[in-house]
Every structure is written in structure tokens, then in C-alpha cells.
Amino acid sequence: MTVVRLPRAGFAGSLSDRLASIVIRGSAFLAILSLVLIFIFIGKEALPILTSQEVQKEASLSTLFFPQPAKPGARPQYMWQPVSEVPKYSVLPLFVSTLKVTVIAVFFAIPLAVAAALYTAEFAHPWVREVVKPAIELLAGIPSVVIGFFCLMVLAGWLQQVFGWTYRLNAVTAGLGLSLAVIPIVYTVAEDAFSSVPQTFREGSLAMGASSWQTAWRVVLPAAMPGVLAACVLGFGRAIGETMIVLMASGNAAILSLSPVDSIRTFSATIAAELGEVVVGSAHYHVLFFLGAALFVLTFLLNLFGHWWVGRLQKKLQGAS
């Protein structure tokens, strides 16, 4: 391929060229800047929990992470009751809720999405692909508020009728709804990983007498494993931060319990439900930003990790083919 040396910026020296260069570079810089600004401005509002004496009277790290007595002299408990006479800000019930619903969502979504991706990439007739792929795209296009609506109005009733749960809205209902939001992302990344496995891998395996499923199971799946794991990590990140579905379908009760059929209240739903009524600058306000900062850092790390893994897989397979 011939390489053409591009003129350096400012070479022509015309005003429009210089102006365009500045605007375009500025925009790219803005993309980085906005991520930094998000970090700074969420962090800035969360910081008073560590620094401000005023805020720490109500909420400090110890009230956030250790049990507090409901009344003076009562047994210390983990409780989230930000609007009571003695506000209680234990994040443990919220953390357990978030973890519970995320694990349930991922537990349903990952096997379904990965199996479907493997099937469409390795076995399916073209017409099956023509049905499954648009269905996934449709699913990805459904706004999460609509999934939340469906869970609350329809799915919760069906599930309660079948299983006879005490609470209509619980971690399983919300988790199932959440899995609908996770499936498209896991499917897409996993399918990409499967199709980026070089054709020679399959041909070699088939030539040695392996059946098509043996090829898929023992050759394609292991080769694409980093991509599949990345898909799981990205799906996990999506599930942790998703708001509307859990806000509408989880019951929003901050109960500290490990039972999957109790109502729950996640980090994201807590922010969504309480930020509207909070006084700007109060301890409660800063605690909600603290939850947001935790969400941001967590999803940021998961995404960084996931994309790094995808990149590594691509490099490895490109080297192999």
C-alpha cells in the first residue's frame, strides 16, 4: 500500500483550516474532559462525607458502613432510613440488594445470551440468524422504562401467581427484568468473539474428525473465551448501573436479607427515588452522591477491564490467523 504523507496541520495556513483543526481537536479533548468532569463533579459532592464536620454529624464513613442504634440505647442495626427523626444511612442493605439483583440478572442472562450467540455463530441456518439478530436488536432498543413497566404491570403478577411469593415485587422479578437489559450486550460481545475466531481453527478441527458441536465446544469456545468473559464483565457493569427497571420492579424496600424473594432497594434506585426530594447540600444529598460515585467507579473499572480483555482477544486471534 502506498503511504501518502499528509500535510501537517497549519501547513496550508488558511484561516478555515486552522479554525477547523482547533474545533476538531477541541471536540476530541472534550470527550476526555467530560469523563474527567463527571468524576470531579460526582466526587466533589460526595467528598463532604469525608471532610465536612457538619455533614459528618449525620453521615460519616462509620455511619455508612457500621451498624447504628435506631434510638439511643437500642441495639445497633444496619438500616437505611434517611428521612426519619434520627436519619440512618447504612449502605449495607443497599449494597446487598444491588449485589443480589445483579447476580440474579447475570445468572439468567449470561447462559441464555452466550448459548444463543454460540448457536447463531456456529450452527444456525441463515434464516435463524435473520430472526434472532433482529430480535436482539429490538430487545436492545426497548427503553428500560418500558421493561420496568412490563415487569411491574405484567410479569410480577404472573410470577406471583405461579410461585405464590409474599412480596409481588422482589429481587427475582427485578432480576428477570434486568436480565432483559443485559442479554443484548452479552450476546453482541460474545457473538463478536465467536465470529472473530479464524475459520482455519474450525477447518483444522473438522479435518481431524471432530463433529460440529465438538468443534464449537472444544475449539471455538476456548479460543473465544476471553471475549466471552469480557461480555460477562460488561453485562455485569450494565446490570449494576441500570436504574429504571429496578426502580419500578424491585419494591424499593431497604431490607437487609439474603432471600431472593424479599423486596430490595439498589444504589441506583435509591438515588433515583430520593434525589428529587432532597435538600441540596444536606447530608442526605451528599450521601446520594457518594452512592453515585461508588456506582461510577465500579462500572468504570468493570468497563475498563472488559474492553481491555476484548482488545487482547482481538490481538491474539489476529496474530494466530
Binding site: M1, V4, L6, A12, S14, S16, A20, V23, I24, R25, G26, S27, A28, A31, I32, S34, L35, L37, I38, F41, I42, K44, E45, A113, A115, A116, Y119, F123, V132, A135, I136, E137, L138, L139, G141, I142, P143, S144, V145, V146, L152, M153, Y187, S211, W213, Q214, G241, T243, M244, L247, M248, S268, I271, L275, G276, L288, F296, T299, F300, L304
Partner: protein, 302 residues
């Protein structure tokens, strides 16, 4: 006959096929349910009238109008920003340079930030920092821009949808043959002339795809606008940049969770959901069609 590996193979393949069936069935059930119940109330009047009698009658026109106004403002902000960022990565920066790597990483991570965190950011940055700052500087400290408003909601949404535009534009830029650029340079075009007269016209399809996908995403998201400008009920349509507005998704959320009379609002609620779904699907469908054409060119066009 009863070859063990063959049976295991058939079972595993069957399970994988079952996963496909389950996913397709779930999508069909959700859409079918909403379509069946939603069609009852859907009429021209429903789309063009304001809500009446505490959301138990009338239509959803203000919510539709608010959603359109929101995504229009959002598009004005996000298209130039997203397109310029893509052009920087693909046309300006040296290939494989560190800066491109960092910008791409930022875009990828921006796409993964939860919507509710954008909502917090909108409140903390746009309203409390920028809005209050503008008020202090120009309005003597009275509340004009330092409160939830459509402009802040639109800017928050623009940040959220920027990765969509960047990714779609980049794909379009990649589809343009390198020889086009070389010819332009050989004829003495400057870099900006080459981009504005050769690259951008060729990339219009991709930019359009990105814009449409961004609009689709923006019209469905609720969490970022909850605290930055959306209101449950307003007697008047938004006229100024600092007005609040009604939004379809937020309307669905509030009607679902805070309705005093669930049975009375249910038909309206279903129809509102159907309108929201049709809007996003129509947009997605258009974007997918345009994208398919670009990909075809990417594959065969050289």
C-alpha cells in the same frame, strides 16, 4: 446407533437452540402484550390532546412535544461534537497515537457510565455549577438557569448519547476508500478542504445513523432527565430554554408507579408505552437500514 458423543452433541446443540427460542419468545411476549393492550386507546385525539382529569383522560401531546424538543436540542449539541471527535480520531490524529487510544478509551467508558450517574452529573455540574454561575453573573443571583430546565436535560442527554454518534461516524469514515483522500491531496486540497468536500459528504449516511440511534436512545432514557428538567404535569408547553418539560418515558414512569387510580390510568398507560416503543423502533429501524447500506459498501465498494 447410540453413539454417546453424538447424543451429547445433539443435546448441547438443542440447548443452545432453546436459548435462541427463549430470547425471541420473550421479545415477542413483551411486544405482543403491549401491542394488544396499547391499541385500544390509540387515536389521533390521543396524540394531539393534553391529559385530562388527573391523567385518566385526554391524550399525551405535551409529553410527545417535550420529547421532541428535548431530542432536537440534544441533537444540535451531540452531532457536531460526536462527528468532530470521530473525525479527529480517524482523519487528524496519527494512526495508533496515544491520544487516539485515550479518546477511544474515554468514549468506551462514557458509553458504560450508568444513566443515573449522568443524572447526578447533570444536577451537580449543569444546574448547580453552570446554571447557578450564569445566574450569579447575569441575573443577580435570582433563579433563572440554576434550576431543572430543558437545556440542561438536553445537554446531559447529549453526553450520554455521544458515544453512539462517534462509533457510527467512525464506521462511515472507515468505509471511505483511502484513494479518495489521496486524490484530494494530490489536487492540492488542504486537510480541511479534503474533509469538508470529500469525507463529510461521503460520511453523511453514517452521521445520520448515529444521529438517529442517539435520538432513539435519548427519547427512551428517563434516569438522566428525572432531576435535570422533566416534570410530571405542566399546563403549558416549554417555550424557553429554561422551561421544564414533559417527557414520554418519565410520563410512563410516574403513571406506572404513582398513579392514584391504577385501573383508570391503565389503558392510557399502555397506549403511552406503545407510542414510546413505536417511536424508538421506527428510529432504530431507519438507522439499521442506513447502516446496512453502508456496511454493504464497506464490503464490496472498494
Amino acid at each position: 446407533m447410540f453413539d454417546k458423543t453424538r447424543i451429547t452433541g445433539a443435546v448441547l446443540q438443542g440447548l443452545a437452540a432453546l436459548a435462541c427460542v427463549i430470547i425471541v419468545a420473550m421479545v415477542a411476549i413483551i411486544l405482543g402484550n403491549i401491542l394488544i393492550h396499547g391499541l385500544d386507546r390509540l387515536s389521533v385525539g390521543f396524540l394531539t390532546r393534553a391529559p385530562e382529569a388527573g391523567m385518566t383522560g385526554g391524550g399525551i401531546f405535551p409529553a410527545i412535544f417535550g420529547t421532541f424538543a428535548l431530542v432536537l436540542l440534544m441533537t444540535i449539541a451531540v452531532i457536531p461534537l460526536g462527528v468532530a471527535t470521530a473525525i479527529y480520531m480517524h482523519e487528524y490524529a496519527p494512526k495508533r497515537s496515544r491520544m487516539v487510544h485515550v479518546v477511544r478509551l474515554a468514549i468506551q467508558n462514557l458509553a458504560g457510565v450508568p444513566a443515573i450517574v449522568f443524572g447526578l452529573f447533570g444536577l451537580g455540574f449543569f444546574i448547580e455549577f453552570i446554571g447557578r454561575g450564569v445566574d450569579r453573573a447575569f441575573f443577580g443571583g435570582s433563579l433563572v438557569y440554576g434550576q431543572p430546565a430543558i437545556i440542561w436535560a438536553a445537554l446531559t442527554m447529549a453526553l450520554l448519547t455521544m458515544p453512539t454518534v462517534v462509533v457510527a461516524t467512525e464506521e462511515a469514515l472507515r468505509a471511505i476508500p483511502q484513494s479518495y483522500r489521496e486524490v484530494a491531496y494530490s489536487l492540492g486540497a488542504t486537510r480541511w478542504q479534503m474533509i469538508s468536500r470529500i469525507v463529510l459528504p461521503q460520511a453523511v449516511g453514517g452521521i445520520l445513523t448515529g444521529g438517529i440511534l442517539a435520538v432513539s436512545r435519548g427519547s427512551g432514557e428517563v434516569a438522566p432527565v428525572m432531576f435535570t428538567g422533566a416534570a410530571y404535569f405542566l399546563p403549558e408547553l416549554p417555550r424557553r430554554l429554561n422551561d421544564q418539560f414533559m417527557e414520554l418515558g418519565y410520563h410512563v414512569y410516574v403513571m406506572t408507579t404513582q398513579s392514584p387510580d391504577v385501573e383508570a390510568t391503565k389503558p392510557i398507560l399502555y397506549s403511552t408505552v406503545l407510542v414510546l416503543l413505536m417511536l424508538t423502533f421506527l428510529l432504530n429501524f431507519t438507522a439499521i437500514m442506513i447502516r446496512a447500506r453502508i456496511r454493504k459498501r464497506l464490503r464490496y465498494g472498494r
